[in-house]
């Protein structure tokens, strides 16, 4: 029952894993615990889930340019997500953070991934080919 979406590559790479899906906007600064990389934002249905090895899917990036530093810090600790997918176009600063953290990053899928993919589904991101697959 797979489905494939065309996406825009921001940071190269391939990753497969469990999706964490949030239909709202997300900020690495403030929404994530810097110590263990779990989501701590009130109101985010994925609160308490650790980002490590997950495919983080959300609508758009919000908040301070400090979010970039949080992502890089998580990467250094081995706690960064396996890939990031956003429905909306990429944010300048997070692009810098994702490139430096070598986290595959795609955006602008040609479908409504935020309702069609659920937290816990297995997905595969191939940034180089510009494809997101719901497995």
């Amino acid at each position: 029952m797979g489905k494939t979406y065309n996406v825009r590559k921001i940071v190269r790479g391939i990753a497969e894993g469990e999706a964490i899906v949030y239909s709202g906007s997300f900020s690495f600064l403030g929404d994530v615990d810097l110590g263990d990389g779990t989501i701590i934002a009130e109101g985010n249905p994925n609160k308490g889930i650790q980002l490590k090895d997950k495919i983080l899917i959300y609508n758009e990036t919000k908040g301070s340019s400090g979010g970039m530093v949080v992502l890089i810090t998580l990467f250094k600790k081995g706690l960064a997500p396996a890939a990031i997918v956003t429905q909306k176009p990429v944010d300048y600063n997070l692009a810098e953070g994702a490139i430096l953290s070598k986290v595959p990053f795609v955006c602008e899928p040609d479908g409504d991934i935020l309702s069609e993919i659920q937290t816990g589904n297995r997905v595969r991101v191939d940034a180089d080919k510009g494809i997101l697959e719901l497995l």
Partner: protein, 419 residues
């Protein structure tokens, strides 16, 4: 992205590993935003690597140890300490020592140790139409708008631009992204529009309206270089404005039509004195008559003429006990101000000329005070002429603030009471 022969050689490692990595990052970044190629840059203003951010100095030192050198004239932005006279700001010694380590790192990489937010005052003026890579929002908007030297809002990747001399051709480097979007007709007398704080307030008002768009500000004739600086710094504070045009003043806008490149404004506004008054009211929460403990001038960093003016005003006078009065500038300008006797005059009055840093970037931030066991808030009530300074110290230092003109700032420092 299409690379030329030299860029391909850089990517292939023929210029070393540091250059190859930097070019790879720039290519990825450019491709993410649809850039078709890289372009050569004329100048770079390099990120502040401040000791108040955990791991920042360590990263800078580590990066420099890999042997990368900058290949274009590269200056650098502010620090959290006055490196020549650390004791002057009251920074904890440990933090000052950590901060001082970046100086060798920067020197080894060929970066000129300017440690200022206003490198244009030091004569770093790339040609009109050139491509550049800058950090520091107030400098970015000045280079783009006043000098016509093109730059995007740089972040960490400015480092890679300096190492390669390249940046992706995108954003504000392209003609089509430099046209005005919003029209502002300023119906305020030239007499009122003849102070630093008036331009700062105008910028605070317009920036809050346009966000990240390109305002065209018609009907003003800024008489001084620093008025343009104050305007831009404020636009990039209340909004994230990267470029503005003033018809008849800035170089890409000889006329209103040229500013909009022939297209129609998305919105038009008329501004009056009451719009400025509202900014003063919003940024001032010190009750009149209250004791103040901090006055600062030099946001962004003052030039030599501005310091000369302060010295003239303070000559033979004394600021009130309990008031810290900082005049912030860069280290080269301070050296000249010492030579010319301005610093001695200012110090005799009880004020200080600070280099490399400013209150916003200093150890007086709440988070740093907490870490080092300093008094919180470190400042009770601060008065200055800059909307940018006020916007940031309110939150970061946690003090009350008052927006006044520079003459009033000096009188308030002398009386020690807010008026």
């Amino acid at each position: 992205m299409i690379l030329n022969e030299k860029e391909q050689a850089m990517l292939d490692g023929k210029y070393g590993e540091v250059v190859a990595e930097a070019l790879d990052y720039l290519v990825q970044f450019g491709e993410a935003f649809g850039a078709e190629k890289l372009v050569d840059i004329s100048y770079c203003h390099y990120p502040a690597e401040m000791a108040i951010y955990d791991g920042n100095v360590e990263d800078a030192v580590k990066y420099s140890s890999r042997g990368g050198k900058v290949v274009v004239p590269t200056t650098c932005s502010t620090l959290c300490s006055d490196l020549e006279k650390p004791e002057i700001t009251g920074i904890p010694v440990q933090l000052a020592h950590l901060q001082a380590e970046v100086e060798t790192a920067h020197r080894n990489m060929g970066i000129i140790e300017t440690y200022t937010c206003t490198p244009q005052f030091l004569g770093f003026i790339p040609p009109f139409g050139s491509y550049n890579a800058l950090v520091e929002s107030s400098a970015i908007i000045y280079y783009n708008s006043v000098l016509g030297a093109r730059t995007n809002r740089g972040g960490l990747f400015t480092r890679f631009a300096a190492i390669t001399g390249k940046t992706p051709l995108m954003g504000y480097l392209l003609d089509e992204n430099r046209k005005g979007t919003h029209y502002f007709k300023v119906n305020i007398s030239q007499q009122r529009m003849d102070s630093y704080d008036a331009y700062s307030s105008l910028g605070m008002h317009i920036g809050a309206i346009v966000g990240s768009e390109v305002p065209v500000i018609d009907g003003i004739k800024p008489a001084k270089q620093e008025y343009l600086l104050a305007l831009g710094a404020a636009l990039a504070t209340s909004g994230s404005v990267t470029l503005f045009h003033i018809p008849g003043v800035t170089p890409e806008a000889r006329t209103v039509e040229e500013a909009f490149q022939g297209s129609q404004p998305k919105q038009s506004y008329e501004l009056t004195e009451s719009d400025l008054d509202a900014v003063y009211a919003k940024q001032t929460n010190i009750p009149v008559g209250t004791t103040i403990d901090f006055v600062t001038l030099g946001c962004p960093h003052y030039n030599l003429e501005q310091i000369r003016w302060v010295a003239n005003k303070l000559e033979g006078r004394k600021i009130a006990e309990g008031v810290r009065f900082w005049v912030c500038t860069n280290r080269m300008t301070r050296r000249q101000a010492e030579y010319s006797g301005y610093v001695a005059t200012i110090e005799e009055a009880g004020a200080k000329v600070i280099a490399d840093t400013c209150p916003v970037e200093s150890h007086m931030r709440i988070s740093t005070c907490r870490e080092f066991g300093l008094k919180i808030p470190n400042v009770e009530a601060m008065v200055c002429e800059s909307g940018k300074m006020i916007r940031y110290v309110g939150d970061l230092i946690g003090c009350k603030t008052g927006l006044r003109n520079k003459e009033q700032c000096i009188e308030i420092a002398i009386s020690g009471r807010f008026e």
